[in-house]
Assembly symmetry: C2
Homo-oligomer: 159 residues x 2
C-alpha cells in the first residue's frame, strides 16, 4: 500500500509522541489511532511512569480510542505506531479489529535498544512445556462451567 | 509441578470470578494474582462492559496487582487464570514477569465457546505480509530518533 501524505503526517505525530515519552520519563514508543483522516486518540509508553506493564503506546492509544468512540471495536481505524508492536500489543490490535496498522521502526530496532519483543514472539510460538515461564494446568473440568454459563447467558454480548 | 491445596483454592477463586463475570455481563474469564499465599489482585473480563478490548481477566488482574504493589513487575507472584491466556495476555504476563502461571481451560475450550485466540496465535507466527491484518511500514529512519533519545536519557528506567 502506497503511503499518503496523511499517513506520513500521522506517523510523524506517533514518532513525536515517542520522543515526548522519553522526555517525560517513559519508554521510546508512541502511537496514534485515526479514522477518516482525524486523530481519535494518542498514546505513549507509560510502563514505568504509571507502574503498569500493559501501558505500551498501542494499548494506551487503543484504550483511549475505544473510550472516545464508546466502542470495544476500532472499525475503520488505522493505528500508527512508532515501532512494530510487541505480541501483547499486536494481540490487542487483533481484538480491537482496526482496518490497518502502519509502523516505523522494527522489532530488531527495539531489540537493539534493549526491548526484547523478539524473545516474547519466540516464547509464544513454543509448546507450553518448552517456555521459560513455568506453566501448569489445574481444574479444567471445573473451569468449563464458566463456558457453560456463557453459552446459556441471555445477556451475552459476543466480541 | 504438583499443585498444592493453595493452588486449588486460588484456581477455584479464578473460576468463580469467571462465572461472576458472565453473571454481570462480561466474558467467561477470571484471574487471580497471588504472592506468598495471599491474593494481591483479582480480575475478570470487562471487554464489553467497559468498552475496552484489552480488559481481559489477566490484564485487569495484572494492572490491579501492579497498582497494589506499586511496581511494574510481579516478582514472586503466581497468576491463576480460568483459561489459557490469549497472545495479548501472555505477552502482558511476560512483561510483568511473574514467577509462574497456572490455568484451567485450554485455548481449544475457548475456541469451542467462540473465542478465537488460536487465530491470533497463528497470525503472530506469520510473516507480516501473510497476516490478515493489513500492515505497512513508514519513516523507519525518522523513528529511530526516539531510540537515540532513549539511549541518551539520563532519567531512563529500563523495564
Amino acid at each position: 500500500m502506497t503511503p499518503t501524505d496523511l499517513d506520513t503526517a500521522l506517523m510523524r505525530r506517533a514518532i513525536a509522541l515517542a520522543r515526548e515519552s522519553v522526555a517525560s520519563g517513559g519508554g521510546p514508543f508512541g502511537a496514534v489511532v485515526a479514522r477518516d483522516g482525524r486523530i481519535v486518540a494518542e498514546g505513549c509508553n507509560r510502563v514505568t511512569v504509571w507502574n503498569d506493564p500493559t501501558a505500551h503506546a498501542e494499548v494506551v492509544a487503543i484504550r483511549e480510542a475505544c473510550r472516545a468512540l464508546a466502542s470495544f471495536q476500532l472499525e475503520g481505524c488505522t493505528i500508527y505506531s512508532s515501532c512494530e508492536p510487541c505480541p501483547m500489543c499486536l494481540g490487542a490490535l487483533y481484538w480491537a479489529r482496526p482496518a490497518r496498522l502502519v509502523f516505523a521502526c522494527t522489532r530488531d530496532d527495539a531489540a537493539a535498544a534493549g526491548f526484547d519483543d523478539e524473545l516474547i514472539y519466540r516464547e509464544l510460538a513454543l509448546p507450553i512445556e518448552a517456555r521459560r515461564l513455568p506453566i501448569s494446568t489445574l481444574l479444567r473440568t471445573e473451569g468449563l462451567a464458566a463456558f457453560t454459563d456463557w453459552r446459556a447467558a441471555a445477556s451475552r454480548r459476543d466480541y
